[in-house]
């Protein structure tokens, strides 16, 4: 970590977004993670994505659980309310927060320990409920804060810093999310900002649960020979199957693409994701095929990245619950109870 405080002075020529805000306006506290941590690159990508979307900071809610990944919500968007809950239980807090006010954008940052071990149940059920939120899983295959134990995403045969070999099958968050009915499933790499930024933007605008599994190497405990989540290994086995470009609703579609290789997907708010397919046989709108493709590539030792699956047709939690369009936390009290006359009416049954 760095011990230097962020300077308060800003360069007058910093580029501004539609709201007149600079990237600095989307920053948070100074990171206390190790220098070179993949999570800090993700933080930078989040800042870039928020700035690019011109989101007002107060429109955003940041949530996390416990662990290195969960600390990162403090490192971006200091103008947004943040909630650092208990280990593995961020999805339930996000569910409740979203239930109370569906007008805000929710971004949850979790890790492989938080999502796939202690919080696997909550992760699964938030997907089933299709809570409208962006869920980032900063995945490094290791427990950092407790000094290097394997996590549930550690691959078979991967070695810990102490030389121990993992023999248990890993949980793949993308395969899990696919089987649970996830409506937006992506994978990326902390070092690939060009891929990650549009994915984060598309995920935030997706109406429903958007999950991005981000391979984010741990420089201290999992960046050595024998680890399958080291920088070197990830770069060597990185397989971009589909590239996503995010186009806000008010922007003209200017991304150039070769015909037959692209697939524009319309989002709920009128924005579009343009998927540039690098593998011709890949279909990111077909759940079964996506699952099979991912598994095949995993067997070959390759991490498929990009937008793996997207469906904009599934109802989110509020649609399923048929809740009113007004945020529940903003309903006037008069609308919530029928008064003394109503009570007398109700009690007739019990007299």
């Amino acid at each position: 970590m760095s011990f230097i405080k962020k300077p308060g002075v800003r360069h007058p020529d910093l580029p501004k977004n539609e709201l007149g805000l600079t990237r600095r306006d989307y920053e948070g506290a100074m990171s206390t993670l190790c220098a070179g941590c993949g999570h800090d690159s993700v933080t930078a990508a989040i800042i870039e994505a928020l700035w690019g979307l011109s989101l007002r900071p107060e429109q955003l809610v940041k949530l996390s659980g416990i662990g290195c990944s969960s600390k990162t919500t403090a490192y971006f968007a200091s103008g947004s309310h943040g909630f650092n809950g208990v280990h593995g239980r961020m999805p339930s807090v996000a569910t409740g927060a979203n239930a109370a006010n569906q007008d805000l954008y929710y971004i949850g940052v979790s890790g492989d320990g938080d999502s796939l071990s202690i919080g696997f149940g909550q992760f699964a059920h938030a997907i089933r409920r299709n809570v409208n939120m962006l869920y980032l899983c900063e995945n490094n295959g290791v427990y950092g804060l407790t000094k290097g134990q394997f996590s549930a995403s550690a691959d078979i045969g991967t070695k810990s810093k102490k030389g121990e070999e993992n023999l248990q099958a890993p949980v793949d968050p993308c395969l899990a999310a696919l089987s649970l009915g996830g409506t937006f499933i992506a994978r990326s790499f902390s070092g690939d900002k060009a891929q990650l930024v549009p994915l984060i933007q598309a995920g935030l605008m997706h109406k429903g649960f958007a999950m991005i599994d981000i391979i984010s190497p741990c420089v201290t405990f999992n960046d050595h020979v024998g680890s399958t989540k080291s920088y070197t290994f990830t770069r060597e086995h990185y397989h971009e199957a589909v590239h996503a470009d995010y186009i806000p609703p008010r922007q003209e579609i200017t991304v150039s693409y070769a015909e037959g290789e692209t697939l524009p997907v319309q989002m709920h708010d009128g924005s579009q994701i343009v998927l540039r397919k690098l593998d011709q046989d890949y279909d990111p709108t077909h759940r079964g095929k996506a699952f099979e493709y991912l598994r095949t590539k995993l067997r070959q030792g390759e991490h498929v990245t990009g937008l793996i699956f997207v469906s904009s047709s599934g109802p989110d939690m509020h649609e399923m619950a048929h809740t009113t369009a007004v945020p529940l936390n903003a309903l006037p009290y008069e609308k919530l109870q029928p008064g003394s006359a109503g009570l007398a009416q109700i009690l007739k049954r019990y007299a």
Binding site: R56, P57, E58, Q59, V61, L63, T73, A74, S78, G79, S80, H81, G82, F83, N84, G85, V86, R89, P91, S92, V93, A94, T95, G96, A97, N98, A99, A100, N101, D103, L104, G121, Q122, A124, H125, R129, M317, H318, A321, H322, T323, T324, A325, V326, L328, N329, A330, L331, Y333, K335, L336, Q337, P338, G339, S340, L343, I346, L347, Y350, A351
Partner: protein, 611 residues
Amino acid sequence: MAQPAATQNRVNDFVIKLANVNGTGSASANTLLMKSIFRMGIPVMGKNYFPSNIQGLPTWYEIRVTKDGYVARSGRVDLMVAMNAETYSKDIREVSTGGFLIFDSTWPRSTLLARDDITILGAPLAKICNENFIGVRNRILMKNVMYAGLLAALLEIDLEVIRQLLNESYAKKQALVDANMKAVQLGYDYARQHLPCPLPLRLERMDKTLGHIMIDGNTAAGLGCLYAGATVGAWYPITPSTSLMDAFKGFCARLRVDPQTGRNNYAVIQAEDELAAIGIVLGAAWNGARAFTPTSGPGISLMNEFIGLAYYAEIPAVLFDVQRVGPSTGMPTRTQQCDLLSCAYASHGDTKHVLLFPANPEECFYMAVQAFDLAERLQTPVFVLSDLDIGMNDWMCPELKWDDGYRPDRGKVLSREEIEALPKFHRYLDKDDDAIPYRTLPGVSAKAAYFTRGSGHNQYGGYTEDSAEYQVVIDRLLRKFKRARTMMPLPVREGSGENVFGLVAIGSSHGAAHEAMDILSKVGIKVDYLRIRGFPFTKEVDAFLAAHSKIFVIEQNRDAQLKSLLTLETPVEKSKLHSILHYSGLPMTSKEIVEAVLAELGDARRNAMSA
């Protein structure tokens, strides 16, 4: 103590116990009986003792007809309706001397089980049923309705009242009304022709139930949540709290659907477990909705980690703990007051929580509303400690009232204008010197943003590992808890206040304690009684404990949890407290309190005289 009088000429003052098989429709017959008595203007108490089972195991229902309006069990059984052959031998033993037993004489009962100190009456219910109804299911159901008719004749229940109730229950299904009424009539006619009608135990119309309702505590609490303006409910189904959320959902489905859009002005979320249920509540409450979760002891155990977070990060939440018998899975369909300590100090580290103790469904309603006000005013979890007896049994209560001038106390939440007027917002600063900080809601202003965390934080809301900064916050939390003392509902006092001996009880032990006081008074023992209604204990509790030289602490658990809490949280001298404990899983009776007090005072009096 004098032996209880034999069962004779007990007008409007006796106990009926009905032994049934679970899942045979006996519940509707029993409710019909109780409600009929209530409609005749006679105070009545009903308790359902049911198994953790869907069909087949024994179940009992106890109806106490009580002209004096007592709400507890008396400990007697004057009339046993023995419909379950499997439990017959146990049931017959329970009948008080001089009492009656009714059984289905379609099949002969072994004479070995006869008692000569009670009257045994047989009626061939199954036989009559088979002659008059078609279909196995129908016959089973109607046999139960038929004993209601039998009792109508024996006890002089008004048949018109029964007909009216059936009409209300099956409003749109005339065929059902007719079939049920036919069964009632068959039972009634048989009794009139073959049995000694009326029995010496019988009913006479009164006017003591006017302005009253019969309602269960879970329904009343669910209604309270509606009136409190709760919009988010999250839960994981668990006996005996399930009907609370069912009730809330039912009321919402009728009263919270927007007439214009047809959309719901509420969200009920069935979580994957109790950990998620409380997480959802915290997320929603943090985000400005009134949110709650109903659960029971095992659920509280699971919620502990989040409860600590809510305490430390100061997030309002309302938890209904409808207590059942523990430890572990315990006896899910039996009642106890066994979660006092696990709620008062829930979660690791230094925590103390606000508890409310409703004694009946009426208080479940009012305290539900109060719980939301307290939770938001104090920015902390508030527990409403009901129990299975209150939650799942129908109780006679004064009609619930609503003050249309009520407005929810949302506590110290800053508005946009207030935030803009501030130089800087600090989440945990004790600005008003009242130990309660200000909070802001997401979405209002970037200036008001703060980071909520269960990790060490200073009064400005920043992360800290600094000892002094940590202590500033944790010490203020204790001051806040002390301040809560002034906001708790006051205890209810009975007695002159001049007596040497005192009784103390909470929640559903009240009925038995109150009646015990009357009984003791009749044998010349005057006591004062204090019913505590909240924790932290108010100064009135301290004063009562100080003013009495011997205090009987009445509660429904093995380990004297209320006594422990009093010892820990008041200046009372421990040796003054004497426990009366009941933890069988059935609601407490007044009789056991009277016996315990007499046993203890007998010795005390002897000692006093010899001194």
